[in-house]
């Protein structure tokens, strides 16, 4: 563990606070301390991604219970399970994205592209088409 003097000097440790290596090392071991506002904004972005992942899980749970109550087709449960799984994946990606961005901030590098955004959009379009098709099919019957 290399707790460098550079880090300690820039964050200005209060009296009596023992210098402690900040985890993860892969993020805090490189570069210099960025403006705290940028770090906090990065943190909030990760939380927003987590809330998005929770929205996907909520959609899955909601779809399951509505399908059960209204006696809808069984394959909707598979769609619901898929939504929940994507929500779980997005939660992992939220943390990975925070890590990438914080590292880039510390290095003064260009920020990484939000790659989950494209997949999320594609998933929502697919979901919309599936559910709209199912609704129209039921109305037509």
């Amino acid at each position: 563990m290399s707790q460098t003097g550079r880090d300690a000097g820039q964050t200005g440790p209060g009296p009596g606070s023992a210098p402690r290596a900040r985890r993860p090392e892969r993020v805090y071991g490189v570069g210099s301390e960025p403006d705290a506002r940028f770090s906090l904004a990065n943190e909030r972005t990760a939380l927003a991604w987590l809330r998005t992942s929770l929205a996907l899980v909520a959609a899955g749970v909601g779809l399951t219970s509505v399908a059960e109550l209204a006696g809808l087709a069984r394959w909707l449960d598979v769609v619901a399970a898929l939504l929940c799984l994507c929500g779980g994946g997005l939660a992992v990606e939220a943390v990975a994205g925070w890590r990438r961005t914080e590292r880039a901030l510390r290095l003064g590098a260009a920020l990484p592209a939000p790659r989950a955004l494209l997949w999320l959009g594609a998933l929502l379009v697919l979901l919309a088409v599936l559910l709209a098709g199912y609704a129209v099919g039921r109305l037509a019957r």
Binding site: P24, E43, L50, R51, G60, V61, G88, A91
Partner: protein, 110 residues
């Protein structure tokens, strides 16, 4: 009243971040509670598994809220602290909830 960026902003940013944390924790807790409620309508092993997972999520959020509250009261959110362990805890709760939702969707009703 003067919104001199340099003087006002540093106070607001940690506050906004703390609010984002509580917002997210609240969503986890509400979703976990309703998932557990739905699961307990099914008297089956799958229902019990889902309810247990959801209860774990609520416990994780409770721990997180306490930790964040103490960090805020020590003005400790900005320096020294890394949000890493808190982020990992919350993301684990989300993933756990996702697993619960998947079991709920796939398990045969009743």
């Amino acid at each position: 009243m003067t919104a001199r960026g340099g003087t006002r902003d540093p106070g607001l940013q940690p506050e906004r971040t703390a609010l984002a944390w509580s917002r997210t924790g609240l969503v986890v807790a509400v979703l976990a509670a309703s998932t557990a409620g739905l699961a307990l309508r099914r008297p089956s092993t799958a229902g019990l598994v889902v309810a247990t997972l959801a209860a774990l999520c609520i416990a994780a959020v409770a721990v997180l809220i306490l930790r964040t509250a103490t960090a805020v009261s020590r003005h400790d959110l900005v320096d020294e602290r890394s949000p890493w362990s808190r982020l990992v805890t919350l993301a684990s709760a989300c993933a756990l909830l996702a697993a619960a939702g998947t079991v709920l969707a796939i398990a045969p009703p009743r």
